[in-house]
Symmetry: C2
Subunit: 138 residues, 2 copies
DNA sequence: CTAGGATTTAGAGCGTGCTCGAAGTCAAGC
DNA sequence: GCTTGACTTCGAGCACGCTCTAAATCCTAG
């Protein structure tokens, strides 16, 4: 029988078997995964590829319900590319916004790190700090 | 009475009043927020500043329990800068990893967008697609 | 002084995205 | 054929981070 077991699919995609089944139930898996005569899933490369795309979208914070919507559009076949494009572009806006926010807030973290490095470097010479300086840099 | 009400604090920090109280209960607020004689919170600038820092850390995905740990270290006063530094550096590693992952996955989104833009551009000339091409670009 | 809106607490409830358990089925090795 | 372990479905359970409710209290405007 062509394809791999769910355990192997989990290994290859980095998604747990539980989550693989959950994604299917949730309507995210646009490919119809084969079944053995005994009812067991057999994942082909196409299925695995799609699931990997799902993990990428998830990793960018796309909600499950949006992924389902996207899967529905893909399942509906050609003719709704406009809608798929709109969905992806909307998501792109969110991702880039999140990226910018992350980069901005990384600065705050870096600043904190600088402060503590500075204190530690100074602390080697003198463990005491003026109270107001503590309050200011906390 | 110095300081602002919780409603005003919410407005200034962009955090709901519910969440402000939740953060305090959760042990994230290192400053001791004043109270009126009647028991109502009065936020001073220092309190607001700290809460804003909390929102930055949250925005970078720091879990509540890590923020609590950080707050504990700060509350404990000077002398644990090494530990605070380690905590922040560990978080920095996670944030930069997330940033890189996000940027990587943004490429997938951009590719999808390219595909759909291409299809739409071509679709204006011809709505039909070879089945294998559909499968390949989905 | 009073009415009504803001605030308080403790605790319950919710949305998301998994994660797991139970009970049963399938299949590969001995 | 039997055992053993992977797999099935379905529904419950969980972790997280809020978010809201209820009932009481506070405070300000009129």
């Amino acid at each position: 029988m062509a394809g791999v077991s769910i355990a192997e699919a989990a290994r290859r995609t980095g998604v747990s078997v539980h989550t693989l089944r959950y994604y299917e139930r949730a309507g995210l898996v646009v490919t119809k995964v084969d079944r053995t005569s005994g009812g067991r899933r057999r994942y082909r490369q196409l299925d695995l590829d799609w699931i990997v795309v799902c993990t990428r979208l998830r990793a960018t914070g796309m909600p499950i319900r949006t992924m389902r919507r996207y899967a529905e559009l893909v399942s509906a076949g050609p003719g709704n590319e406009q809608e798929r494009l709109a969905l992806m572009e909307a998501h792109r806006v969110e991702v880039t916004a999140k990226l910018a926010e992350l980069q901005e807030n990384l600065k705050v973290i870096d600043h904190k790190i600088d402060v503590y490095r500075g204190r530690l470097a100074a602390g080697e010479a003198d463990q005491l700090w003026a109270p107001d300086r503590q309050a200011a840099t906390r």
